[in-house]
């Protein structure tokens, strides 16, 4: 998805050491959803995806002076933020002051929610407490919609509870009408992002007496990628049928628990359209691990900038 790259902004603060303001912003799909369609950034198998909660645990920003990595500056606060409620210009959450002028490498983390995490006002107290109790990095809820949609849970795990199938998929799993499938997924996806770069330039340059601004950007659609792209996402397809097929009890809602029960081996959708060889987690022993692996790739820098992981 395209997102407007936020260039490093600069304002004159007078003479002296430099400051860096670090914002978090959400890829537009987190707020706007992903439409079904044939365009390369749409969901190719007919599902419209919308998110109503997209919590992320993020922080531990660190700068390393490019010319001397021993010179570092950090902002250790870890926030839990609901990205569906982040304003379009992003949220400024960290400030690093007293910086030496020069170019700095930029690093940050999406850790498991620690006990001392800070609740952003976009997150309700009970939701925040659950994130911390579960030590999740992400908690993502939303819906898949498709008027002709169906769920085809793997035969060996399905508990249809009397539901009548309306056909079967290519693997012979029974399918059931499912125009709406809710999902509610929590996962630990602890990741160190950095050094980060954008347009071939590493990190950020700060100048004496000025305040620079950079953004941590969290992408929202990697859950639906058909692989683990490193760099250009342009050739990646978005597919959502696999998630609809994870509704084992056909109650219209896919849960974290259901994902944990399903091996990718039994999902018919994980066919030759998927290239899983770049997964950041191996082995991929369950769909919960798969979701965590995809979530581990979502951290970016300044829009589409990349960070080593």
């Amino acid at each position: 998805m395209l997102i407007s790259a936020l260039g490093a902004a600069c304002s004159d603060d007078g003479a002296g050491q430099a400051k860096l303001a670090v914002r978090i912003d959400a890829e537009d799909v987190i707020v706007d959803g992903l439409p079904a369609g044939e365009d390369s950034v749409q969901v190719a198998d007919g599902w419209q995806v919308d998110f109503d909660r997209y919590l992320v645990t993020v922080g531990k920003v660190e700068l390393r002076l490019s010319t001397d990595h021993a010179v570092r500056s950090s902002a250790g606060d870890v926030f839990i933020v609901d990205l569906t409620r982040v304003p379009s210009g992003g949220l400024e959450l960290w400030t690093l002051a007293d910086l030496q002028a020069g170019r700095w490498e930029f690093h940050y983390r999406t850790p498991r929610a620690p006990a001392n995490a800070r609740r952003h006002r976009s997150v309700d107290t009970d939701v925040f407490e659950r994130m911390v109790d579960e030590r999740w990095t992400y908690w993502v809820s939303g819906s898949l919609r498709n008027a002709d949609g169906r769920s085809c849970p793997p035969q060996s795990l399905a508990t249809p509870q009397g539901a009548e199938p309306n056909g079967e998929n290519l693997a012979g799993d029974d399918c059931y009408a499912a125009p709406v499938v809710q999902f509610d997924l929590g996962a630990a996806a602890e990741t160190h992002f950095g050094p980060c770069e954008v347009d071939g330039l590493s990190g950020v340059a700060v100048t004496e007496g000025a305040t620079q601004s950079v953004s941590i950007t969290i992408h929202g659609d990697h859950l639906f990628f058909n692989g683990f792209p490193e760099g250009d996402e342009g050739s990646t397809r978005r597919l959502a049928q696999w998630l609809a097929d994870c509704d084992l009890d056909l109650d219209g809602r896919v849960t974290t628990d259901e994902l944990g029960q399903i091996s990718p081996d039994v999902l018919a959708e994980f066919d030759t359209r998927f290239a899983l060889g770049g997964s950041p987690i191996t082995p991929l022993d369950s769909m919960l691990t798969y979701v965590a692996a995809q979530l581990k790739t979502q951290g970016h820098y300044q829009g589409e900038g990349e960070c080593a992981r």
Binding site: S156, L170, A171, G172, T191, N226, G227, P229, E230, G231, D232, S235, T236, R237, S263, P264, D265, V266, L267, A268, F270, D271, T272, R273, F274, A275, L276, G277, G278, S279, P280, I281, T282, P283, L284, K296, E306, A308, R309
Partner: protein
């Protein structure tokens, strides 16, 4: 091979060996179905070792590479020389490889190297007998593992993950790298009970028993293909 600006780097050429693994116990399919493997051949290569901890596009300073391919009998634990890794000394922290079929930035079609051509255009050929119920069921799988037309063109298909351990300082004292594949888990997700094809009515003779052919699209094919990409990793053993 692109080289970083580090000082003290030396050109190195390191023999590359490959091997399968000894499997003392029968392999298992899903639900504990026992398998006798008669033939298990894997096309392997090319291989790139990178300085950074993340392979793929982030591998801007490839240390070592071998652009060839070879067929590995993965049931044979005896090392076999595959070729020579060429590059420069220094730290390596990630790897990426193909299984005999490469993707080029400039060409949408996959390129079948010699090893895959030897296997009829496949990355893996595995044949044997599955003991499903009372009767032995011969099975055969021919699997292609390659970047598809919607994959990441130009990138090797299997890449080190963050959870894989791999670190080494390459020096001119390294006398070889052995990569050992273990096929034990490759068929562990295959539900052979769903594959058995009964013989046609009126059929007779020794060629007329049940059989199982693993082809796409099927759960069995996807399971093997995924196991080769994100299942058990090969072991990298440096020799000095």
């Amino acid at each position: 091979v692109a080289c970083g600006g580090e000082t003290g780097q030396q050109p190195v050429s390191i023999p590359l060996h490959v091997a399968g693994s000894e499997t003392n116990e029968p392999l298992l399919g899903a639900n504990g179905v026992t398998l006798d493997i008669e033939r298990a051949l894997l096309a392997f290569g090319p291989l790139v070792l990178c300085a950074g901890r993340q392979a793929g596009d982030a591998c801007e300073t490839a240390r070592l590479e071998w652009l060839g391919s070879t067929v590995i009998d993965v049931m044979d634990p005896e090392p076999k020389r595959a070729g020579v890794l060429v590059g420069v000394s220094g730290h390596v922290a990630s790897w990426m490889y193909d299984l005999g079929i490469t993707s080029q930035l400039s060409d949408p079609e996959p390129h079948f190297l010699e090893a895959a051509a030897e296997l009829g255009g496949h990355s893996l050929v595995i044949e044997g007998v599955a003991h499903v119920g009372e009767a032995p069921v011969p099975f055969a799988a021919r699997v292609i593992v390659a970047q598809g037309d919607q994959g990441e063109r130009g990138l090797p298909i299997v890449r080190k993950s963050q959870t894989d351990d791999f670190e080494h300082d390459v020096t001119d004292k390294d006398t070889g790298l052995l990569i050992r594949f273990d096929p034990t888990q490759w068929l562990a997700g295959v539900d052979f009970s769903r594959l058995v094809v009964e013989p046609e009515q009126g059929c007779s003779g020794s060629e007329c028993g049940q059989s199982a052919t693993i082809t796409p699209p099927s759960q069995a094919y996807n399971s093997i293909r995924n196991a080769l990409q994100v299942g058990a990793r090969p072991r990298f053993e440096w020799r000095q």
